[in-house]
């Protein structure tokens, strides 16, 4: 495997929580890998399965979705939809032959900057192990 492989991650981040946490992590100068391309959404529930597969097709090695904890959603139950959807998107990807570990859903509240940095770092390591997304070449 290529030692210099730097996975590219597309991250859909809820405006009210994860996006703030990511910002905080930056302000606090916590070590964050530079692999992330952040996309702010108003709620993680706005993330359609089509965004996930499009990102994977367009060159992302991993897709990250960050939402509020269950019970804390700014729109009451948007994140319930996120969870239910990902529970189906993951097996669908597996059935097609795409490793579902390339899609990661996390609940990260606005104050959890440290958790954000940790989670992304873990995700990058995992993706390094998985290698480049084979869908890219197709």
């Amino acid at each position: 495997m290529n030692e210099n492989f730097e996975p590219r991650i597309v991250g859909f981040m809820c405006n009210w929580c994860t996006y703030v946490a990511a910002d905080m992590a930056g302000v606090a100068r916590l070590k964050q890998p530079p692999n992330m391309t952040a996309i702010r959404v108003m709620c993680s529930g706005a993330v359609s399965p089509l965004y996930v597969i499009s990102a994977l097709k367009r060159g992302a090695d991993g897709v990250f979705i960050g939402g509020c904890h269950i019970g804390d959603c700014h729109y009451q139950r948007g994140n319930h939809s996120t969870l239910k959807r990902i529970m189906i998107v993951k097996p669908l990807l597996e059935a097609l032959g795409i490793d579902s570990r390339r899609v990661r859903l996390e609940w990260i509240s606005a104050s959890e900057g440290v958790k954000y940095a940790k989670v992304i770092a873990e995700f990058v390591d995992q993706l390094k192990e998985l290698g480049p997304n084979p869908l890219r070449e197709m």
Binding site: P49, L50, I53, S54, K57, I70, R77, H80, S81, L83, K84, R85, M87, I88, V89, P91, L92, E94, A95, L96, G97, I98, D99, L105, E106, W107, P134, L135, M138
Partner: protein, 277 residues
């Protein structure tokens, strides 16, 4: 079995309990859907588990029964239904396309051979008028081979299969559950259009995803595909996931909404990792 169904249809029509019956008719050697409006016409009614009841009509994407109900407001329509047809009716009612209260189901069961051909887990409607309820076939049979493959082989397999696609939209046209006026498969936002093959795997992806909580196991998608793409390997696998995660089966309970649309309290995800609770 045909005679029992015909008898029931004639009874319903004669007693004016239904204004019409939607079922299959023998014509020119084909079994095709027909609206029987008189008891005499029922003599031509036939049962053909292999032939679809044809719910949809293009390009309006309206369900046939929805069209009929609009044309006959307030009247009851009898529908001669296999197990899958009845499940389709229940899902259509949930999707508010038809009024189930105005539908009288005249159900009949499929035989063992047909169940095996369709790999159907429930080859009978709830209260069949004719036919014995045979044992369903475990759905794993349809996708066992797929899961046995290694991930990278699976990807190559689907690339070869899905790249045969000629964008006829047959899978969508034939599916009783594809009734959206704004069909996602038609939208160019996510995938280049006007080109063959349609972008892998985006074109079929959204339909697979929607089928997870809508697929009623009729098999029409595969029968409509001119390139013999084994679509049911994926749809049946997703159905099994819905069963494992939520104990949910599309088309069985008219009162139960899809778990994807409900909260985690109403339909919790089984075996959810702690971090996501």
């Amino acid at each position: 079995m045909k005679e029992q169904v015909r008898l029931r249809c004639k009874e319903l029509l004669s007693a004016k309990r239904v204004a019409a019956v939607w079922g299959l008719r023998e014509k020119d050697g084909c079994a095709v859907p027909f609206l029987f409006q008189n008891p005499e016409e029922i003599d031509a009614l036939t049962l053909s588990p292999k032939a679809p009841l044809s719910f949809t009509c293009r390009p309006s994407n309206e369900t046939m029964l929805s069209v009929l109900q609009k044309k006959m407001p307030g009247k009851r329509i009898g529908v001669v239904a296999r197990g899958c047809d009845e499940r389709a009716l229940i899902e259509l009612a949930k999707g508010e396309r038809i009024d189930l209260d105005l539908i009288e189901v005249i159900g009949f069961s499929c035989d063992q051979a047909q169940a095996e051909e369709c790999v159907c887990s429930r080859p009978f409607p709830q209260n069949p008028v004719a036919g014995d309820k045979v044992k369903g076939i475990p759905e794993e049979k349809a996708f066992q081979g797929l899961l046995a493959m290694e991930l990278k082989d699976r990807l190559k397999y689907w690339e070869a299969q899905l790249n045969k696609c000629i964008k006829c939209y047959g899978c969508r046209n034939a599916c009783p559950m594809c009734y959206c006026k704004d069909c996602r498969m038609e939208q160019s936002v996510f995938t280049k259009i006007g080109w063959l093959p349609p972008e892998f795997p985006l074109f079929q992806f959204v339909r697979f995803y929607h089928m997870s909580d809508h697929c009623i196991e009729c098999g029409e998608c595969e029968k409509a595909c001119p390139m013999d793409i084994p679509l049911r390997k994926i749809t049946k696998y997703l159905r099994s996931r819905m069963e494992d995660l939520f104990d949910y089966h599309p088309g069985l309970d008219a009162k139960r909404k899809s778990p994807i649309l409900t909260t985690v309290d109403e339909d919790p995800v089984k075996d959810l990792p702690d971090e996501l609770r």
